[in-house]
Every structure is written in structure tokens, then in C-alpha cells.
Amino acid sequence: MAAIPAEFSSAPVLPKWVVPVLLLAFAYGVVPLIGSSYLFEAILLPFLALSLAGVGLNILTGYAGQVSLGSAAFMAAGAFAAYNFNLRVEGLPLIGSIFLAGIVAAAIGIVFGLPSLRLRGFYLAVSTLAAQFFVQWALTKFSWFSNDSASGVIDAPRLSISGFALDGAVGRYFFALTIVAVLTFLAHRLVSSQTGRNLIAVRDNETAARIIGIPVLKTKLLAFAISSFIIGVAGVIWAFAYLRTVEPAGFNLDRSFQILFIIIIGGLASIRGAFFGAALIVVFPLALSRLGGFLLGDVFDSGVLDMSQRIVLGALIILFLILEPDGLVALWDRIRRRLLLAWQTT
């Protein structure tokens, strides 16, 4: 997969931290004042969870070049682990449960990452399917994981941080936003560190990486661990903050593909790309249903919506792979550069 980030523009640019800081200020200060509960429940919460999952998968697939179809399994592992830590460990704060859940997901990631030491590309992708099916099977088979609930569906615990309840839509939004912001910042630090450059080296030329003394095996397993940790925490956000229920069926292969599409559309090997891709994946079906309902009226029922969604999304992915393999991020940067230049010349 071509995953070469776009070159930096030659136009004068703001310091790198300005845009993220402004966005965060907007997300914390302005959005809660103007947002409706529909915006939080239907758009922002799934967007945040999927963005974080995309960031996690991008570390593994975009940066380290290891294709994975097991993302939803790691989300499920995170969600169920957090649920059980929260339920069974007396006095453990919520943040502690979430952190330990990430560790559990990372451990599972390492186990299912072991084939990557031998396999690559298509064969590795197929072997990560094993994670997908195994985790779902185990969660369904052993009712202990869902605290022997008859339906297998369990309610997420109340969200509170040091006694401060975060149960409303806005509260859960703050909860998700904070975790996503912190982990994204750390992920950004990681990919621009020596370890991050090692990931890219292993992706671009494994033999050369080995020859110059990069610990290739360790680097691959580390990529699986870190990626699964982040995806596991994304699973917690998905279950605890967005859906408010935890069930294995929500973390099926479709979800894994969805996250893969997010990073392909958004841009491989780009942290921003995960957010671009997730935004498209979340907003696109809503927009399509509005548009379809407006144009076609009652004919455009949920069956038609579902089908047209798949068709358009499939077409989009093919288009991106052919025309813009570096994703929305590259497209965005190009447009921005054009605008800047146009603005400068006037």
C-alpha cells in the first residue's frame, strides 16, 4: 500500500500545534454550547470512538505496514475488559478500569500479532481474522464475560470521574473527547519518535531495517500492542459513552472493515487521517438518508438506504485507492495549499 505522506507545503504555515489547539478549544468551549443532543448522540460520540480506533489501526497498518482485519475484536476486548474490571475490582476508579482494559487488548494484540513475524500482506490479514472470530466466540460462549446476563447484552456502568457524574450527552462527550485527545497526542508523539520511524522503516523495507539493526520482530509486536491498546480504549468509549450497552455482536467483522475503510479513506500513516475518515464514515450515512428521503420520499426506506450506503461507500473506497491513495488528508492539504497560494497572489 502506498502510504507516503504528502510533502510539506512551501507556503508559510502556522506552527504545528496551532490548529490542534484551536480545534480543542472549539471542541471544549464552543461545541457544548451550540450542540443539540442529536449532534452528540448520533454524530460526535461515534465519531470520537471511531476516530480513536482509526488512530490505533493507523499505527499498525499505516505506519508499520501490517494489515489487520481484527480491529473490532480489540474494541470488544477493551469494552468487555473495562466492564469486568469495573464490576469485579472493588474501588478501582473508572480510569483504572479503562487503562487495564487497554492492557488486556494489547496483550491479545500481541498474541494475534505473532503470525506477523512470518506472514505478511494478504496472509497476515487473513490470520488477523482469527482474532476477530475467536474473541467474538469467546465472549458469546462464556457468559462470565457478560456477568451471566441472559441476553448477552449488558448495560455500561455510569460514567463518573472522581465523583463527578458524566451521564448526560454532554458529559459523555467530554469524557470521550478527553480520552481521545490525550491518546491522540501520545500517538502523535509516538509516530514522530524513534519508535515511529522504526515502524515506517519496517514497513518500507524490512530487510534494510534488519540490516541496520532495527529490532524488526520487537517493532512489529510493539506496533500490535500499542495499536490494540488504543483500539481497546476506543472500544470502551464506543460501549460506555456512545451505545451505553456492551454486546459482542456490535463488534463484528463489519466494524473491523469500517475501521480499515476509515484509515484508507482518511489517509494511511496519518493521525489526522483517522479523524477525516471517521467524520466521513459517520456523517455520510446520515447525509445520504436525508438526501434520499428528500429526493425519493417513502421509497427510500431503511433497506434501500442500507444498500445504497454500501454501494456508494464501496465506490468511494475504490475511487480513493485509485485516485488518492493518500486519502482525504492529502486532498485537504492540496486544496489548502491552492487556497493559500491564491490568497498570497492576490
Binding site: E7, R189, L190, Q194, E206, T207
Partner: protein, 316 residues
């Protein structure tokens, strides 16, 4: 790339079996080996100890014999060329020396320590660096980071320290960037320092690969056709860089190159391979006049040489 798949599988499955068969080694290298309980026997060797010595190397792929009973010794500080027609086994030999291939037979002696297969992941620490016949840069990294990656074997900070910016990670980064910058200056690459490696023209990418290998200041530098596909001007530039690198870092060089003119001018001794066998091993002048070499290789190659000289003239 030619050395994927089976080669890597081979590498990971192998058991390294080094044994000492020469004396006069740096104590640090030796003690490391002995501490691991791998060094077993010591055989005295007359004369100056070669930095690299191959003994009876044999390698075949299925029915194809890539290397047959190759002996080769490389003395410290020399530029040692390996020439021969396409498919003669030159790249295979470099792959054997760098541990990418495990030979079916024979030993590789490095700094006097013998290996059945050279441990690739310790290669950099053993003071060996190499370039590849086909470009093997990290396309998604800048030129600077590609070169700094050549120091990856020295990194001791862990990822948590790097993410949080604590411990020795900052210092390490500063040091490796400094050294990478020095090499970029040395090879006249400073102007493309921040470009993505994959966006450079071919000739420059070749030079960046040399920089990545040189930044570790290796004692042994293996160059697999560093001038392939270059114009005559680029070739002579590259030849000058190789010589300068040898002089500046006291590096021993093993050089594969098809351009006989370049090879004759650059190397101290030349080994000639044909169908996996070594058919000559001597000084440039002797090799030039060796009838077997002329038959097998030079007869064809001199045409190429004349051609590239004409190109050169046209270029000036």
C-alpha cells in the same frame, strides 16, 4: 525485491554457529562472543589477519548453483571489487556476507570470528553496513531520517521514554541527527536533507543509501552496484565518494560494479565470478589481461565501457 520470501524465512529459521578461527581480534568483539559461549576453536593464521574471509562458500537455490566453493579474503582498508556477468552470484555473495542468505556450505569469518550464517540483526554492531542493488530506502522517511536510521542499532531508549520525552531519548536523537547531518554534508546531500527519500531522483537515492550505510562508520562496507543506472558523471562522483569514505573512515570496502572502467580505477584487488565460481582474483592489471576473464566477462563488458565513456563525453 529479490531477497524477500524464502530468504527471510531461511534467515529466521537458522541457527547461528560462530566459531573463532583467527587471532588478533579486538578484545571487545571477542569477549562478547565468548560471553555467549559460542566461540569454540582457535586456529592460528599467518600474515596480517583479513577483516573478512570466506571459506568454501556454497549456495544453491533449487537446482541453480549461485555460489560454488568460494574463498575470498578482504584485508583491512582495501577496496575489493567483485565483478562478473549477470547472474554470476555477486549479489548472493554479499547477501551471504551480510547474513541475508545462509550458505549451504562454508564459513564466513568476520574480524576473525567464524559464522555458518552471519547474524543479520547484529550486523551493524559487528561494524558491517551495506547497500542494495535495488533501492532499499525508507520511502516514507525524509533523507535525514533515512540516514539517521543507520544509527538505529545504537538506540537504547524505549518507546515510553521517547513518547514522554524523558530519559536518554532526546540526547540520542540529537546525537544521531548531528551525525546524519555530518554525513549529508560529506556526501553533498545537505540540499535534499528534508525531502522524502522516495521523491528523489534515482542517482540521489543511491547516494542516500550510501549515506545511511556510512553514518555508522562501519569497518566493512558492502556496496552492491552503487553506480548502476547512473550517468558517467554520476558514476565518477560516486567513485570519488567511495574512495573518500574509505580514506576518511578507514573503512574496508567490498564493491560490486559492472562498469569495468570504474572498477579498475577504484579497486585494490578484484575477484571475478562466473556461474558461481571464482575464476580470477588479482590486481586490476592482472585481471585485465587474464584470458579467462576476457572470455567470460571483459569481452562483453568492454563494449559497455566504451559506450559509457561516450555518454560521458556527450555529457560534458
Amino acid at each position: 525485491m529479490a531477497l524477500s520470501g524464502s530468504a527471510l524465512g531461511l534467515m529466521e529459521a537458522s541457527v547461528y554457529a560462530p566459531e573463532v578461527f583467527a587471532r588478533g581480534l579486538p578484545a571487545s568483539l571477542l569477549s562478547g562472543e565468548q560471553a555467549e559461549g559460542r566461540a569454540v576453536s582457535v586456529e592460528p593464521v599467518a600474515g596480517p589477519a583479513p577483516l573478512l574471509s570466506l571459506q568454501g562458500i556454497g549456495l544453491s537455490f533449487g537446482g541453480v548453483v549461485a555460489l560454488a566453493d568460494i574463498d575470498l579474503s578482504v584485508n583491512p582498508g582495501e577496496i575489493r571489487a567483485i565483478i562478473g556477468p549477470n547472474g554470476a552470484g555477486k549479489s548472493s555473495l554479499i547477501n551471504v556476507i551480510s547474513g541475508v542468505y545462509r550458505p549451504d556450505r562454508g564459513h564466513i569469518g568476520l574480524h576473525g570470528i567464524g559464522y555458518a550464517q552471519v547474524p543479520t540483526q547484529r550486523l551493524a554492531r559487528l561494524g558491517v553496513a551495506r547497500t542494495f542493488q535495488n533501492l532499499a530506502l525508507f520511502k516514507g522517511l525524509s533523507v535525514l531520517d533515512n540516514v539517521a536510521a543507520g544509527l538505529a542499532y545504537k538506540v537504547r531508549s524505549n518507546f515510553a521514554g521517547q513518547v514522554l520525552g524523558i530519559g536518554r531519548s532526546r540526547e540520542e536523537r540529537r546525537d544521531s541527527l548531528n551525525r546524519a547531518d555530518q554525513i549529508l554534508d560529506f556526501l553533498d546531500l545537505a540540499a535534499v536533507r528534508d525531502r522524502l527519500a522516495g521523491t528523489l531522483p534515482y542517482g540521489l537515492q543511491k547516494r542516500v543509501e550510501l549515506a545511511r550505510a556510512l553514518v555508522a562508520e562501519p569497518r566493512l562496507l558492502l556496496l552492491d552496484e552503487p553506480m548502476a543506472g547512473m550517468t558517467a558523471n554520476e558514476k565518477s562522483e560516486m567513485a570519488a565518494f567511495v574512495r573518500a569514505a574509505r580514506d576518511r573512515f578507514a573503512t574496508t570496502v567490498v564493491l560490486i560494479e559492472h562498469d569495468v572502467g570504474v572498477v579498475m580505477g577504484l579497486s585494490d584487488r578484484i575477484a571475478v565470478l562466473d556461474y558461481g565460481r571464482k575464476i580470477a582474483d588479482a590486481t586490476p592489471d592482472e585481471v585485465r589481461n587474464d584470458p579467462r576473464v576476457i572470455d567470460a566477462y571483459l569481452g562483453v563488458a568492454s563494449d559497455n565501457e566504451a559506450l559509457s565513456r561516450n555518454e560521458g563525453r556527450a555529457g560534458i
